[in-house]
Amino acid sequence: MRRHALALITVVAAGCAKTGQTRTSVPLFVAGTNVTEPVVAAFGVPVTIERADLAFGPLYLCAGATAGDLCDTARLEWLETVVVDTTLDEPARAGELLGVTGTVRSWMYDLGISSQLTRTQPFILGAASQLGAASLVLEGRAVADGIEVPFTASVPIQQTDDTELGVPVVRKSTSESFFRDVDSDESALLLRFDPSAWVRGIDFRPYVSRETCTSGGPTIACDGGLERTCDGETELSTRDCTAMGYVCIPGAGCRERLTIDQQSEAYRSLRNALVSGGRPSFNWDYVP
């Protein structure tokens, strides 16, 4: 009897409660873009993207107009990571955004590598571990000056000593427009990445040359696909990289692929594009 009485009181009291915000979850989907045509990179160099795997997550959606320091409390969050094949446009379910209803005006996310206040070294999360401690693994072929340059880039995106600890590295800027009044009936959120946005700024011209041995010149010179080993003006030997199926990299010689170095301008261009340029699109009207 007592239990029934208490249960009745509980039901009555619970039915009387009204709250401004309620907990909610929104299914999160990620997708890429099927780039069928070569991307035109810097100085008109066409680039064919063969692989663009992105480590994505965690993701936070915030109430304020500026994410980062002003998002100690997020409206919605997804705390996992996933590897996104950004060359495929078929959405894949990543998980659930969990949080509460209300307006969101900004977002921020990491690319598989997070920064926490509890230590200065970044955390390599699951998806980035799958990519060899990288946020992005990019492979493709650029044709510069008639020379085809297969390339690969492995780019970790993380906070450094010069940046801000404890805050996700990619954040909405104040000039970007983003607004949603999240309620409990959201169908899903789809984030779509376009890898061509990351490639467009890369200048591949430094990776092709037509040089001969000259006084004061490099020890290894590339003349298109031909590798010349030099001693000053004297040509010591040559190799046809193209015939071997390789590419001649200035200063390096015949290589299977160009590996974009972390100190190069191409790398910086790629990194900047990932952090500040190539934003995903947010689609709240996606219906799975």
Binding site: L6, I9, T10, V12, A13, A14, C16, A17, K18, T19, G20, Q21, T22, R23, P58, Y60, C62, A63, G64, A65, T66, L70, C71, D72, T73, A74, R75, L76, E77, L79, L98, G99, V100, T101, G102, T103, R105, S114, Q116, L117, T118, R119, P122, F123, I124, L125, L165, G166
Partner: protein
């Protein structure tokens, strides 16, 4: 309205005086044998003292008429049915003649209440006299048209071969209107002390005025002194942070946190601490000693001009005193669950007034889970002295406590098994949580009770409080604002608060003025003043490196002055209508020295300014306090009330020159009160409260932050029954719909705070139920010359599911406490069970982001449920001796 009689030394009911009959044994005075009422019924509804100070006693016992010399006549009780005492057969062989004098309480319904032996003639004769007088019936004492309790002295002269009873008033078994003259010529004049109402002050301003007498207070078992507050209708108290931190209070739809919405007074001393860093109006009642609490007066709403700062939900006044039955030297030792030990010592001389006593207590415990060990000690000393119209009361309170704290755990960690409900996170920053509290309060009050009905009080008090706490709610989220690129060292917030307070109080109520025969009234004027000097600091500590300070958040000194004045008119029109109209105004000033004010971000050059921001503010808060009472029938009162009050701000949040820094409260009550005497007293009513500026707890800062305006609409019912002399019960039911009226202030992080019309306030339980049941009985009148008896009690509290932020709903809380005790003469053995149902509940719940896993590379940023576990089933066994 009430005058308490004093125990005048020369007429002390318990003084050991020799009667006639020298050949008979002399037994020490004892309580009346037979059934004992668990409560002082006569004082319950009619004899309430002043809410804000101990009322002065009535004029000395020994006068043959009521001490209240006013136009309303007072008549003593008159016996209408008496029984002669039977001479004890076993005493015949001794051929004794002796005299017994009894102190008899005549209740307002004419029956006999408490009986005690003033002059003993020997055990057998005492028993015979008591047995006889318990069958007597009286016309009760009267004040005007109103029956009141009274106490009379009844001598019995036992002579051979047949005993005669010499009544205080001539008995008349058939003619209630006649007065027989049977008093022997050589008998001393009767000593009639009237305990009744004085027409100078009424305490009940609304239907939500509750007086909880000692019998209800002690009916259910109490783990600590402050647990007496559970008997207050609609009040829930929780102990989430250990014995060194104040309770959490909820009353009438207000989540009062540590006391921000309830004005507390103990023995007339103000308890709330303004601008305390751990919570505005911080009120730690851990020093309370249950044995010294005589009465609890709960004034819900703000209708009395004497109510000052923090009286938003209402006021609670604890009157201290030790009843006759409990006086003497008492020692009690207890041992219980979790290696809990309690020691209590009290000294209350039997010849001294009720308000004179000294008591100390000590407690230590290992606690019911990790990091919950604690110790505390407290002492309360009070003395009433003086004679005649002017008496004095001195009071002193000392309290020390230190405890470890378990903090809170995330509900999702408990659900997933990563943490247990009573556990503490396994990091130094969580294990290092603890608190320390020291407090000293002292006061001297002078009470004046004029023979013309005028009365007044003046008082001086001072206090010192030292508080320090280390708590971590959020784990590893914080960054230093002072040290560049330092963060993640654990959010162990250290708060320090040190306050010195000094206060004065005074009031005067005139004698009744009677411009016509059908109307009379009084006027009261009064003033309260206090000065507080507060030093407070808040830092972040790294518990893994010897508590290194790695951030400084608060470093401030505050000087606050609060001066309140009031006037109150109290007018009675015939016997059917009473109107009260008062006005109160308070001037508050603050001088804040904020040594970290104008703190610049780390990116600003440090050589462009000197840190610090001093500011001051002064404002006036005033409002009416009105009430009306219609009494169409003797047993029915209709009450309505309206009042406006305020709550002072957290001074550090004030801007320079802020003129209106208060949270204003508007309160209204309407209801009915039914008084059918002991069988049932019932109050039912509805209330409405509007608060202009509410506050809520911010876990990241560990303190209260402003939210918007709020309102409460509710109903309350409270019943007290004493159906039998040995049984008392109390039941209360409170319903409230507490809602937010406007969104919280916007901020950069939350520029458009979500708000829904009619949004419920979080943490406030819509329904609060409380039931107390107590029984006391003497099984054997004399077992080896001592009475053998026992008592039992039940206490039940229920909180309906509370709305939490973000649509969550807390589980209901149902707590049952039970006790049983056996007593043999001065010795009592008691066994108590707390949370007998072993309910698993959260003493307090919050919703905020936290990160308690610093090594997983993930930082949660959405609000999560956190809880501090409530105590599970526990027991306590105690042994008490009263000498």
């Amino acid at each position: 309205m009430d005058e308490k009689t004093t125990h005048q030394r020369e007429h002390s009911p318990l003084s050991r005086q020799r009667g006639d009959g020298a050949c008979c044994r002399r037994q020490p005075p004892k309580r009346a044998a037979g059934f004992e009422l668990c409560a002082a019924v006569c004082v319950c509804m009619l004899c309430a003292p002043s809410a804000w100070a101990q009322e002065p006693p009535a004029s000395a016992a020994g006068e043959s008429s009521a001490p209240v010399a006013e136009p309303v006549a007072v008549s003593p009780p008159r016996a209408v049915l008496s029984t002669e005492a039977a001479y004890p057969p076993e005493a015949l062989t001794a051929r004794c003649e002796t005299r017994v004098e009894l102190l008899v309480t005549v209740l307002a319904n004419g029956s006999v209440g408490e009986v005690s032996v003033a002059i003993s003639g020997g055990q057998e004769f005492d028993d015979a006299a008591v047995a006889a007088v318990r069958q007597w019936r009286f016309e009760p004492a009267q004040r005007g048209e109103r029956a009141i309790d009274s106490r009379i002295r009844v001598p019995f002269q036992f002579t051979l071969p047949r005993a005669e009873s010499v009544p205080a008033l001539a008995p008349s078994t058939e003619d209630a209107g006649s007065r027989a003259d049977q008093a022997p010529a050589d008998e001393a004049p009767l000593d009639v002390t009237v305990r009744g109402e004085r027409q100078s002050r009424t305490e009940d301003r609304s239907v939500s005025d509750f007086r909880i007498e000692r019998d209800v207070i002690v009916a259910a078992p109490r783990q600590e002194g402050a647990d007496v507050l559970r008997a207050a209708p609609g009040l829930y108290i929780g102990r989430a942070e250990g014995p060194a931190v104040a309770h959490n209070y909820m009353l009438r739809g207000f989540d009062a946190d540590h006391g921000q919405d309830i004005e507390f007074r103990v023995g007339g001393l103000p308890i709330n601490m303004p601008s305390h860093i751990h919570g505005q109006g911080y009120s730690d009642l851990g020093f309370l000693i249950g044995d010294t609490i005589r009465e609890l007066r709960v004034t819900e709403g703000v209708y009395d001009p004497r109510q000052g700062d923090f009286a938003v939900a209402g006021s609670i006044d604890l009157r201290l005193g030790v009843e006759d039955r409990d006086r003497g030297v008492r020692l009690r030792s207890g041992y219980g669950s979790w290696n809990t030990f309690r020691q209590f010592v009290m000294w209350a001389p039997r010849e001294a007034p009720e308000e004179t006593f000294g008591a100390v207590q000590y407690m230590r415990t290992d606690g019911f889970g990790e990091n919950r060990a604690g110790q505390s000690g407290s002492g309360i000393f009070q003395h009433r002295f003086g004679d005649g119209a002017l008496t004095f009361r001195a009071i002193g309170i000392l309290h020390v406590a230190r405890s470890d704290l378990a903090g809170v755990v995330r509900q999702d960690d408990v659900d997933s098994g990563r943490a247990c409900f009573t556990c503490v996170y396994p990091y130094p920053t969580a294990q290092a949580q603890n608190a320390l509290a020291n407090r000293f309060l002292a006061g001297l009050f002078a009470d004046y009770a004029g023979s013309d009905g005028a009365n007044g009080q003046a008082g001086l008090w001072l206090g010192y409080d030292n508080f320090r706490i280390q708590e971590n709610f959020t784990g590893f989220l914080q960054q230093s604002r002072v040290l560049e690129r330092v963060g993640g060292r654990g959010d162990l917030i250290e708060q320090q608060n040190r306050t010195f307070s000094l206060g004065l109080t005074g009031r005067y109520r005139t004698s009744p003025f009677r411009p016509a025969s059908w109307v009379h009234g009084t006027v009261e004027v009064g003033a309260d003043g206090r000065l507080d000097v507060i030093h407070q600091a808040q830092n972040l500590l790294d518990a893994s490196v010897r508590h290194q300070t790695w951030d400084r958040r608060v470093d401030a000194s505050i000087r606050g002055v609060d001066l309140g004045v009031w006037g109150d008119l109290d007018w009675i029109f015939t016997q059917y209508l009473r109107l009260r109209a008062g006005l109160r105004a308070d001037v508050l000033s603050y001088d804040v020295e904020d040594r970290l004010g104008n703190f610049a971000p780390l990116t600003r050059p440090q050589d462009s300014f000197i840190r610090g921001f001093r500011r001051s503010a002064l404002g006036l808060a005033w409002g009416p306090r009105t009430s009306a009472e219609a009494k169409p029938l003797e047993w029915l009162s209709i009450l309505a009330a309206y009042g406006e009050g305020y709550r002072s701000p957290q001074a550090r949040l004030l801007e320079d020159g802020e003129k209106a820094p208060f949270s204003k409260v508007r309160s209204a009550d309407f209801g009915l009160r039914f008084d059918w005497g002991d069988p049932l007293r019932l109050a039912v009513g509805g209330f409405y409260t509007h608060l202009s500026d509410d506050v809520a707890f911010d876990a990241a800062e560990g303190r209260l932050e402003r939210i918007g305006a709020t309102q409460r609409l509710g109903a309350v019912a409270h019943a007290i029954t004493r159906p039998l002399r040995w049984l008392v019960g109390s039941l209360s039911f409170t319903f409230v719909d507490a809602t937010l009226l406007e969104p919280p202030p916007p901020s950069a992080e939350e520029p458009q705070p979500p708000f829904a019309e009619g949004q419920n306030l979080p943490f406030v339980p819509p329904i609060v139920i409380r039931a107390d049941l107590g029984a006391r009985h003497t099984f054997i009148e004399r077992l080896g010359r001592q009475p053998f008896g026992g008592r039992a009690g039940l206490g039940f509290s229920f909180l309906s599911p509370r709305p939490l932020p973000y649509g969550d709903l807390a589980n209901p809380v149902a707590l049952l406490d039970a006790s049983a005790a056996l007593s043999w003469g001065p010795v009592e053995l008691a066994f108590e069970l707390f949370n007998a149902l072993n309910s698993r509940y959260a003493a307090i719940e919050y919703a905020f982001p936290s990160d308690w896993d610093p090594n997983d590379g993930i930082r949660p940023r959405t609000p999560a449920r956190h809880a501090a576990a409530g105590a599970p089933l526990s027991w306590m066994l105690s042994l008490a001796v009263t000498l």
